[in-house]
């Protein structure tokens, strides 16, 4: 019966016999390295198993170490991110301070150069309504500010004080639609009135049709309005339109970037101080007593 069962599985039996013979042959035959083939085959197979097992263990250990390292790196990453955020904030603060310092330095230089009595002020707010181009300064009447005082910057005219309170002041910008300043073309001394439009451009009006005005000419204050001191830059002529021999539209681009103002000077006294006397007075003052 057993022989019949075996005969019903001829394929398996055949494979078994073949493998058995191969093993038997391998046990007796040496390879070119002088090692019996069976030993070499068994060793090779076992070594592959060992290699796989060792590799698997190594992979597992590596994965575990990587996991641990990853967790540590994740923690360090979080810490570094927090540190980076703090440093970015500090850097922005330092940049802001540097920019403010540079601005104040320019303002100080301008204050020294200008022959007028001025008070520095910081812009703390801009206009609340787009129809009125105004801004708010941090100085008021307690620091000597009064209505119709001119507000200037190193680049030129900014506007005038229209509403001083004790600790703040509202300034009407030169581009406001209700603002105006007496001006003249620096090159030809042709006079006119600079009028705000409510936009970022001004009109130069009442210019005689015979006047020599060209695009690119610089327009400065003439001092005729009694508010703005003479000789400060208002802006540059950007475009000119003529109708029937007359100037129908002369547009001026302000010299001051009014949207980026941070600090200004308020002209507290329209009377000019002789520059030589001013410089002498500055030199006699102690360094700590100098105004910023």
């Amino acid at each position: 019966m057993a022989l019949l069962d075996i005969r019903q599985r001829v394929g398996w039996l055949f494979m078994t016999v073949i493998v058995a013979h191969l093993i038997l042959i391998s046990a007796q035959v040496s390879s070119h390295r002088g090692v019996p083939l069976l030993e070499e085959a068994i060793f090779g197979a076992v070594s592959e198993v060992q290699r796989v097992a060792t590799g698997g263990i190594g992979e597992a250990r590596g994965a575990w170490h990587n996991y641990l390292n990853l967790r540590q790196i994740s923690r360090e990453n979080d810490e570094l991110r927090q540190r980076l955020s703090q440093l970015e904030v500090a850097l922005q603060r330092e940049r802001a301070l540097a920019g403010q310092t540079r601005l104040l330095q320019e303002l100080l230089d301008f204050k020294k150069e200008t022959p007028l009595s001025t008070t520095p002020a910081t812009v703390i707010a801009s206009g609340a309504s787009p129809d009125f181009r105004t801004m708010t300064l941090d100085k008021g009447s307690s620091e000597g500010l009064a209505a119709d005082m001119a507000v200037i910057a190193p680049a030129g005219i900014v506007g005038r004080v229209i509403l001083p309170t004790a600790r703040a002041a509202k300034v009407q910008l030169i581009i406001d639609r209700n603002a105006a300043a007496a001006g003249l073309v620096e090159r030809t001394r042709a006079q006119g009135v600079v009028v705000g439009t409510g936009s970022d451009r001004m009109r130069f009006e009442y210019v005689p049709g015979t006047a020599d005005v060209k695009t690119g000419d610089r327009v400065v204050t003439s001092g005729m309005d009694g508010i703005y001191p003479k000789g400060f830059v208002i802006g540059q002529i950007e475009s000119i339109e003529r109708t029937a021999g007359e100037f129908s539209a002369v547009l001026i681009r302000p010299s001051v970037n009014l949207s980026a103002l941070e600090a200004v000077l308020v002209v507290t006294s329209a009377s000019e101080v002789p520059k030589a006397d001013r410089i002498a007075a500055e030199r006699t003052k102690p360094a700590t007593a100098r105004p910023e």
């Binding site: 039996l13 073949i18 013979h21 038997l24 042959i25 007796q28 035959v29 083939l37």
Partner: protein, 168 residues
């Protein structure tokens, strides 16, 4: 019963091979009686029997003759299996098919045997094709005679039995 017959056939072939081989063709016999017995068992008993017969016979033959035990056994196992399978699938009771089976089995055995030796780098054979041809011819002749002899034995015994019966 068939297993016993197969074992007897193999034992007889081994005995004849080991005793008569030196008298045939100067000692280098081109006849493999063990292989003839394996083919006979495979054709009469099937693939499994042929394979087992080839395995046992080859191993014994290897143990007695070869330096590597298993190569002859492997070759004869494969031949016995294939011949048995052919015998089960096709009708090989006529003389011509048997003749072809013997020739093909011998050729396959020689090729396997010598090929395994050559593959393992143990031995090279100078003229394998001549060996294949001569051994195939010798095995075929012996095999055909053996088949004819064995198949004729029952008739001979019957005739002798009838001839011995007392006449009334």
């Amino acid at each position: 019963m068939r297993a016993v017959g197969a074992l007897i056939a193999i034992a007889l072939a081994l005995a004849l091979q080991t005793t008569l081989a030196r008298f045939v063709v100067g000692g280098s016999t081109p006849i493999d009686l063990v292989l003839v017995a394996v083919v006979y068992v495979a054709l009469t008993s099937g693939a499994a029997s042929g394979m087992l017969a080839g395995s046992v016979a080859g191993l014994v033959q290897d143990a007695l003759a070869s330096d590597i035990i298993g190569i002859g056994g492997l070759a004869k196992s494969i031949v016995g299996f294939v011949v048995g399978a052919i015998g089960q699938q096709f009708i090989v009771t006529a003389a011509v098919p048997r003749l072809f089976v013997f020739m093909a089995a011998t050729a396959a055995h020689v090729l396997l045997f010598q090929g395994l030796y050559a593959a393992l780098g143990l031995r090279t054979f100078s003229s394998p094709w001549a060996a294949v041809a001569t051994q195939a011819l010798g095995n075929t002749v012996v095999g055909m005679v053996a088949f004819a002899t064995v198949e004729s034995l029952p008739g001979v015994f019957e005739r002798r039995r009838l001839s011995r019966r007392p006449k009334v």
